[in-house]
Structures are given as structure tokens and as C-alpha cells.
Symmetry: C2
Subunit: 115 residues, 2 copies
């Protein structure tokens, strides 16, 4: 499953958002998601599975609890894919800053259409 497919689901995006400020147990995630989306516990668990199996989260057991946390790599991959499009809005870049932070090369796009 491609990273973008994983992020295509609003529940999964929300779960990742919840994890931005640190570890969270499956239970606390489930509770929140249930209240926000009205889906069942197994439903949430399956989304957690997708995130897990695609490397978006790391899990750590603590008793019966499973503590989930964000794993950066796949998100970073998405970020890298987007990179090629930054030129479309970064134009009036506070140059130095962006250029240093990201390693871009591409300038403003130009026309090109084969016959």
C-alpha cells in the first residue's frame, strides 16, 4: 500500500494528528476516534494496523496496553514527493531559508509539449 493511500483515509490522518504530541495508547486513540467518527473499536484497530504495517507508527507494549507513536519515514517520503511542486508556490521565497532547509534545485516551470 502506497503512503498516499494510507493517508487517504481521514481516520488515519486524524490518528496521526493525535500522535503528534507523543505516545498514546490504542485505547485512548480508540475512544477519541469513536467519538469523532462513530466507528467501532475493531474499526479503529484496523486503521492502527494499516498505519503499523506501513511504517507510519511504532508500537510498544506496556502490560496489555499498546502505545503508539509516529514513525517519520513514510511521511518524509510524501514530503519528498511534494518537493518537486514547491516551486509552484515558493516563488517569493525568503530565499535563503527554504533553500537551505530543503535541497531544491528546480526553478519556475516552463512550457513544453511534444508534437
Amino acid at each position: 500500500m502506497h503512503a498516499f493511500d494510507v493517508l487517504g483515509d481521514p481516520v488515519r490522518r486524524r490518528i496521526l494528528e493525535l500522535l503528534t504530541d507523543g505516545e498514546r495508547s490504542a485505547g485512548s486513540i480508540t475512544e477519541l476516534i469513536r467519538s469523532e467518527f462513530g466507528i467501532s473499536q475493531p474499526g479503529v484497530s484496523q486503521h492502527l494496523r494499516v498505519l503499523r504495517e506501513n511504517g507510519f507508527t511504532a508500537v510498544r507494549a506496556e502490560g496489555t496496553r499498546r502505545l503508539y507513536s509516529v514513525e517519520a519515514e513514510p511521511l518524509r517520503e510524501v514530503d519528498r514527493w511534494l518537493e518537486r511542486f514547491r516551486g509552484f508556490w515558493d516563488q517569493r521565497l525568503d530565499a535563503l531559508g527554504t533553500e537551505l532547509a530543503r535541497g531544491r534545485r528546480r526553478g519556475t516551470p516552463t512550457r513544453k509539449d511534444p508534437p
Copy 2:
């Protein structure tokens, strides 16, 4: 349809990639995509429609030709969503740069799990 759903399809991602270096006619896109993915002309046309209807592309008519080009906004939206996760890998940031370019506030995430 959410931006991530649009990007969930590999054909649509590829089309956007093709458009990074400028306008392209539906025909030239179709030809390329057909050779790469082996799908029919209507198939490609439908993907173009999704991109169009979701604001990922602009279209301009030139005779019978339709010239497609990238429209930044939706991609930018995705970029903004990702922003909150940059802290997970940007740590060793060439500080100044990133901080100036993006308007981040969040630091390194910390633990937090409600009972």
C-alpha cells in the same frame, strides 16, 4: 474528495509529475500514461477529470487540444498538513532557514497519554 484521495492514485500522481515541467496536451499525457500503465484513453481522461474537478490542474483549450497545467493550491494544502510532522525529522534543522520559510512553532514532541 479530499486532496489525499486524489493523490492516492498512482496514475494521477504520475500525471502531476509529468506536468511539473510545464503544460501538456491531454493527448501527450494519455499516450505516455497508456504506455506506462496500460490503461485506455477514457481511463486517462477520467483521471484528468478528477484532477481538474479537484483543482489540481488548470485547462486551456487550443483548437481541439486541451492543455493541462499544475494548479498549486491543493498540493500546498497537503504540504501544510505535513507541516506538523516536520518536527519529526527536521530536528537537526539548519534552524534559521526552516523557521523562516515555514511558520512553525512546535518543538520536539513529548509524551502524553490520558488515563
